[in-house]
Amino acid sequence: MTKKAFNKIADGLTEAIAIARGEAKPAHLSVPSDNPPPLKRRGIVPTTPSMSLVDLANPTRFLGFSQRLLPFTWAVALGLLAVGLYMAFFTAPADYQQGDTVRIMFIHVPSAWLSMGCYGLMAIASLGTLVWRHPLADVTAKSAAPLGAAFTFLTLVTGSLWGKPMWGTWWVWDARLTSELVLLLMYLGLIALWQAMDDQGRAARVAAVLTLVGTINLPIIKFSVDWWNTLHQPASVLRLDGPTIDISMLIPLFVMAGAFTLMFAALLMMSMRNEILRRRVRTMELTAAGLGA
């Protein structure tokens, strides 16, 4: 990374923090300015108690904030990804049992973590919608659902490509895999729910209820699936449980997990920006209809 690019990103980050604190004005959203207004880089002293979530709740402020933060997030994500990929292919050893296929783990496991983490995020956002009526909460929940589905899908596909050479089959109805598949169904159901309703405010509350019911249900589903699975012939699946993983594999795994998480954050921000714009378009269309004729 060149020094100039780094400086630009660092400036963006400083500015993002300033905007979040409500000290700087974001550039107007619909006119993406190529040269952002000069910022007072010194003197960012928190006059208000602190940068709080309430400040970010303003969608316009979020647009400005995320616009500055996005390049930074992407840069770090891609940097980590490059390091992670290098380690995954060149420094991590092949597994003594699984050989090189273990390298699939470096994308499979981070995807799996994200697929579950994303649901957790949506559950929190749903609480935000129902309890605190946070203006950005339903935007977050709506934008996260397709991303969660994408990472869940990726988990299943990479798992399948890992399973074929290891177990000789593309798919087994193992408890973990099955739970992941059920998670995909829940994501798709939520996406369908969002898509089916015109009134976004109402859709947000209904989807929030469904998400929270899902959260309560997840442990029950998990327990049932485990029970169902042990009831039948337990599949002799190789597992990479916790501490048995060697440190030489653990480090690239965490690097890749970091890269994936940051990519998820960046995608979520982009998606949320789109959602905010979509709502503005809708409002303006209604205004336009009021103006015309």
């Binding site: 994308i107 995807s111 990726l154 995608l267 998606s271 714009l277």
Partner: protein
Amino acid sequence: MSHAGFIFAAYAMAVVVLAGVVGWIIADGRALRRRLADLEVRGVRRRSDRREEQAT
């Protein structure tokens, strides 16, 4: 490398899925921005000064 095909297929799928998501989000964002610009050209404002717009 043993089973290289499967490993590369897995990484390729990751690229395809993530690129697909990124492409979809960017295309969606562009379409929305175009729509927003189009509405603004037609003189729609989000707040206030509607009467004035109607007069012109």
